[in-house]
């Protein structure tokens, strides 16, 4: 995976965000086995305890689960993944709408801009 971190935010929340993104986008498929904490820490270049903390939180949210002997896996609950995808999309849209509204655009104009940029 490609990792990108900012140092002014907690690394574990960024790990959670980037892993969630990989799961909802299908880069990590439902039921897929995750690398070990050490391998993920090496790959991301971060502290293993930080990876552990991020995975434990994702586990609490149900996006990953662990099997006592064989490691951690992405959930196979596709409904849950779908919900998370929607929530993440809404959060991004909210930030975008806040930002573009501050330019004084109304709803129609915002939709026009999106259509122009995205292609109809």
């Amino acid at each position: 995976m490609e990792w990108n971190f900012r140092n002014d935010l907690p690394i574990y929340t960024q790990l959670m965000e980037q892993l969630s993104r990989a799961i909802v986008s299908g880069e990590l498929l439902p039921g897929a086995k995750l690398p070990s904490v050490r391998d993920m820490a090496m790959d991301a270049g971060v502290n293993p305890n930080t990876v552990q903390r991020a995975l434990a939180d994702l586990e609490r949210e149900g996006l990953v689960f662990s099997q006592r002997t064989s490691g951690r896996y992405v959930t196979d609950d596709e409904a849950l993944i779908g919900e998370r995808k929607e929530a993440m999309a809404e959060e991004i849209a909210r930030q975008f709408v806040d930002s573009i509204s501050s330019l004084g655009l109304d709803k129609e104009e915002i939709i026009k801009v999106i259509e122009r940029v995205r292609g109809k």
Binding site: N7, L9, I11, T13, G45, N47, N49
Partner: protein, 231 residues
């Protein structure tokens, strides 16, 4: 039990006081940054922990052992400067470590020497500054110690080697061992740390979980350091 425990530590150099009643506890399983400006006592603290200096007051215990042969057997120290005889080759330096330290793994040292492109038969005196640093770090990290004391491990190396060194530290991670890294190149190492200690004029002004600190202040450890130690 704490991996490292300093209680009521005092140290003077002549009339200059470095520490007075310093208390510090480190648990196993952490990579800890020891951060402070020049002259704050980082190297003195590390040298006290590996028995190169003797405290004037107080006590240090490593894995429950007072400083002595038993503590040294579980402490792996990377000095700030080249501490090996210059006539030695890398292979001879490995022999030397193997003789001194039961926990030294020659196979992992050899593997790192090859992956960093060092020549086992090159003598230390003909090595560049960066190569010497790499060799010393390889030897230090090839021990299976309980406490690693790394005094400025990335000071003189290029960015690619720095990444390799940081990866070596992550790869070597063991839930029982603690790695204490002194540095002032904070932005280069802060992703690897999970705890920091800020040292100012011989006093610990902050000891914290790194992510908690980022969360609390919304800033990088590097920025927080600059604020705390603004001249």
């Amino acid at each position: 039990m704490e991996t490292l425990k300093c209680s009521g530590l005092g140290k003077r150099y002549g009339s200059t006081r470095v520490f007075e009643n310093l208390n510090l506890e480190l648990e196993g399983g952490h990579i800890v940054g020891l951060l402070g400006p020049n002259g704050s006592g980082k190297t003195t603290l590390i040298k006290l922990c590996c028995g190169l200096l003797t405290p004037d007051a107080g006590e240090i215990k490593i894995g429950g052992e007072k400083i002595g042969p038993k503590s040294k057997a579980i402490t792996s120290y990377l000095p700030e400067r080249m501490a090996l005889a210059e006539w030695m080759t890398a292979a001879q330096a490995m022999d030397y470590y193997a003789d001194f330290f039961e926990d030294f793994s020659r196979s992992s040292a050899t593997e790192m020497i090859h992956s960093l492109g060092l020549d086992e038969n090159q003598s230390i005196k003909t090595m560049s500054k960066g190569t010497k640093e790499k060799l010393q770090l390889i030897l230090t990290m090839s021990r299976k110690a309980k406490l690693y004391l790394l005094d400025e491990p990335i000071g003189g190396v290029d960015p690619a080697t720095r990444d390799y060194i940081l990866n070596t530290i992550i790869n070597n991670y063991n839930p029982e061992a603690t790695v204490l890294i002194s540095t002032h190149l904070i932005s280069d190492v802060e992703q690897v740390l999970d705890q920091v200690i800020f040292l100012r004029e011989g006093k610990i002004i902050l000891q914290s979980d790194v992510d908690d600190l980022r969360m609390e202040r919304g800033k990088s450890i590097d920025e927080i350091f600059r604020e705390e130690f603004r001249c």
